[in-house]
């Protein structure tokens, strides 16, 4: 079992003829992802790694029945790509690019509420469901294995570190998903936790957070609803104090956003909070044993 991405999803790659698109199409195919098409305007009719290339998402969806898209186009074209996918009924859209203007992300994420699409990212490593042998993202293939742990992270490499240590401890994953590192993203800890709640295969959830924002504090209250053990690791204990966004930042945050406030909120709602990434696996093992 898994959340967000299952083997039933048929995946297209927007920007498939670029270096990144091409490379990760190969990686996704190698992992088992049913990549059924790619999109690259004026390159329609060609193929990449045996995958047919179309001029538009519309054409790709019509010809392949695609349900999901992973976007690799350069940041200035990302809004266009996301809207193209949404307006053509793609239900799951993984936005890999970083440096997408925040106003564009705001437009994408708010439009998705109307179209009903699920946006992962932007600036995410993507989503991988090891049981399903399917991934949409840029994560290394070999570090995951199927198992009972759901992982949700804000940061890419840090999640690899943790997924790898889980796998090495024989604690496989249902789904590992990156919310994305940008200020405005399609998912929050809460929306992902909701999904893990309804996935019977997920027995424990690992949250990988950071200083800044207040996503962890917002999520803390949901933990009592979740009904599954949570292990949290938050990076940034030694990080420099973030530079404040004027008075507005202070007014919005009102004391949230520090590592202390986050850890306190999570602990108060029953999460097991560890201080170093290599402590996650042991904490998960204990949680599963309880």
């Amino acid at each position: 079992m898994a959340i967000l991405l299952t083997h039933q999803d048929r995946v297209i790659v927007q920007g498939i003829t670029g270096n990144q698109g091409r490379f990760h199409t190969r990686q996704m195919l190698a992992y088992g992802t049913p990549v059924v098409g790619g999109v690259s305007p004026t390159k329609g009719g060609s193929n990449v790694e045996g995958v047919p290339v179309f001029d538009s998402v519309k054409e790709a969806v019509e010809n392949t029945g695609a349900t999901a898209s992973i976007v690799f186009v350069p940041a200035p074209f990302a809004k266009d790509a996301a809207f193209e996918a949404m307006e053509n009924g793609v239900r799951l859209i993984v936005m890999i690019p970083e440096h997408i203007p925040v106003q564009d992300s705001i437009d994408i994420v708010n439009r998705a509420k109307t179209t009903g699409s699920t946006i992962i990212g932007p600036n995410t490593f993507g989503v991988i469901s090891p049981h399903e042998r399917s991934k949409m993202g840029i994560m290394p293939n070999h570090i995951y294995q199927p198992g009972p742990v759901g992982v949700v992270a804000r940061s890419g490499t840090l999640s690899y570190e943790i997924a790898f240590s889980l796998s090495q401890s024989d604690l496989g994953q249902t789904t590992v998903v990156g919310m994305g590192g940008d200020p405005v993203a399609g998912q929050t800890f809460i929306t992902i936790l909701e999904q893990f709640r309804h996935d019977p295969a997920t027995q424990c959830v690992v949250m990988v957070g950071e200083i800044g924002g207040s996503a962890e504090e917002e999520a803390a209250e949901y933990l009592s609803v979740l009904g599954k053990p949570v292990v949290a690791y938050l990076a940034g204990r030694a990080a420099p104090a973030g530079k404040r966004m004027g008075h507005a930042g202070a007014i919005i945050e009102r004391g949230k956003g520090t590592l202390e406030s986050k850890e306190k909120a999570l602990k108060a709602h029953g999460a097991e909070v560890v201080t170093m990434p290599w402590q996650v696996a042991d904490a998960v093992r204990s949680a599963l044993a309880r």
Binding site: G156, T157, G213, G246, P277
Partner: protein, 370 residues
């Protein structure tokens, strides 16, 4: 990217928001000239930090002589760690009342947020939430005048100020949206002679959107070294420790600092080599770390897009050109791990696969170097 007050006000003025007459001043003579032109002025240090007034960053001058004298004193002073290089001489305003307004992005709501208060001024951060009016913007609609009127009403404004405030909200949102601002803030939004005027202003532009704002002045508030690394295109912050750190990914870089601290060491910097950096920028970044003359260098890589052999090659390139005259600890796992480790081993550099072990080793080496 933050804009200096005078730049921010220039943009406000372009959008028809009233600002006081003012001049940018970089010498005592220019300050004297400004007082001659404008009458009594406030001389305001142009630094990218809040709480400037309390720290002595705003002083007044009645006469040209006083202007020159005050400017002489202020120019070059250190204000909360920032060197004052420019002053903004602004006609002194007989302020009747101070309001507050800002437009920013609410990350949780994923929407623009307009906040305003009729209790503006330097104490705004201590004003209780019930004195602050907050409204989210539907980005598909934007801000129409009624939105501003509803806020003006919630603030208890009347007559001319009601109307001016309503129009100002529309303009401020346009700046936020059209200039890709992360924040546009007026505090205080002063009432002078019964009219609104922006007495101070902040404008932060989204770095990711700078490419579509060639007309906006570029400001890099980092130290010289930080600016140098930013030019390579990497995220970099100086810290006050002695172990230089490079990692890939912001989260990984933070976790690496945490690990150093955990083992009793002190990190010298934050450096995110990026999720997919290739040989050349990685080598450049490492070169910068060497010039910092740290007690040790810790490179912590978990290869996803980043290929371990690229990192190994970057390390060797730096060692073979500028040299690495300090202890170097490398932790290398992930994509092309074998090839990377082999390259390093051939060159006599040990590679760790365990992050804790590598961090502990780096801290130990730094202590030995004392």
């Amino acid at each position: 990217m933050k804009q200096y007050e005078y730049m921010a006000k220039g943009i406000l003025a372009q959008y028809g928001i009233p600002i006081a007459p003012g001049q940018l001043v970089e010498s005592p003579d220019a300050a004297a000239e400004a007082v001659r032109d404008l009458g009594p002025v406030a001389l305001k240090a142009q630094v990218l930090v809040g709480g400037r007034g309390k720290a002595g960053g705003i002083q007044f001058a009645q006469t040209p002589q006083e202007g020159a004298h005050v400017a002489q004193h202020m120019l070059g002073m250190l204000l909360k760690g920032y060197r004052v290089e420019k002053l903004y001489a602004e006609q002194k305003l007989p302020i009747e009342k101070e309001l507050y307004i800002s437009v920013t992005t609410d990350r949780n709501a994923k929407k623009p947020l307009v906040m305003a208060s009729s209790a503006g001024g330097v104490e705004i951060e201590d004003v209780s939430d019930d004195q602050i009016v907050k409204r989210h913007v539907d980005p598909a609609i934007g801000v129409l005048p009624y939105f501003g009127r509803e806020m003006a009403q919630a603030l208890g404004l009347h007559d001319v100020v009601f109307k001016e405030f309503s129009e100002l909200v529309v303009k401020l949102y346009r700046i936020y949206r059209e200039k890709d601002a992360e924040l546009v803030e007026i505090n205080p939004l002063a009432v002078v002679d019964g009219h609104l005027i922006a007495a101070d202003a902040r404008l932060n532009i989204d770095d990711s959107a700078l490419y579509r704002h060639q007309d906006v002045a570029r400001v890099d508030e980092g130290s010289d070294l930080e600016q140098k690394v930013h030019e390579i295109g990497l995220a970099y912050v100086e810290l006050d420790g002695d172990i230089a750190v490079m990692a890939n990914g912001a989260g990984m870089a933070m976790a690496t600092l945490d690990a150093i601290q955990y083992f009793g060491g002190r990190p010298a910097n934050f450096l995110d080599a990026g999720g997919g950096a290739s040989v050349e920028p990685t080598a450049e970044a490492l070169g910068v770390l060497v010039t910092m003359k740290p007690k040790a260098i810790l490179v912590n890589i978990f290869g996803g897009i980043t290929r371990c052999d690229d990192v190994a090659q970057a390390i060797l390139q730096v060692r073979n050109t500028v040299g690495i005259p300090v202890p170097l600890v490398v932790r290398l796992v992930g994509t092309n791990e074998k090839e990377g480790v082999a390259l390093l081993n051939e060159a006599g550099i040990q590679a760790y696969s365990d992050m804790a072990e590598a961090a502990e080793r780096a801290v130990g080496l730094a202590k030995e170097a004392l």
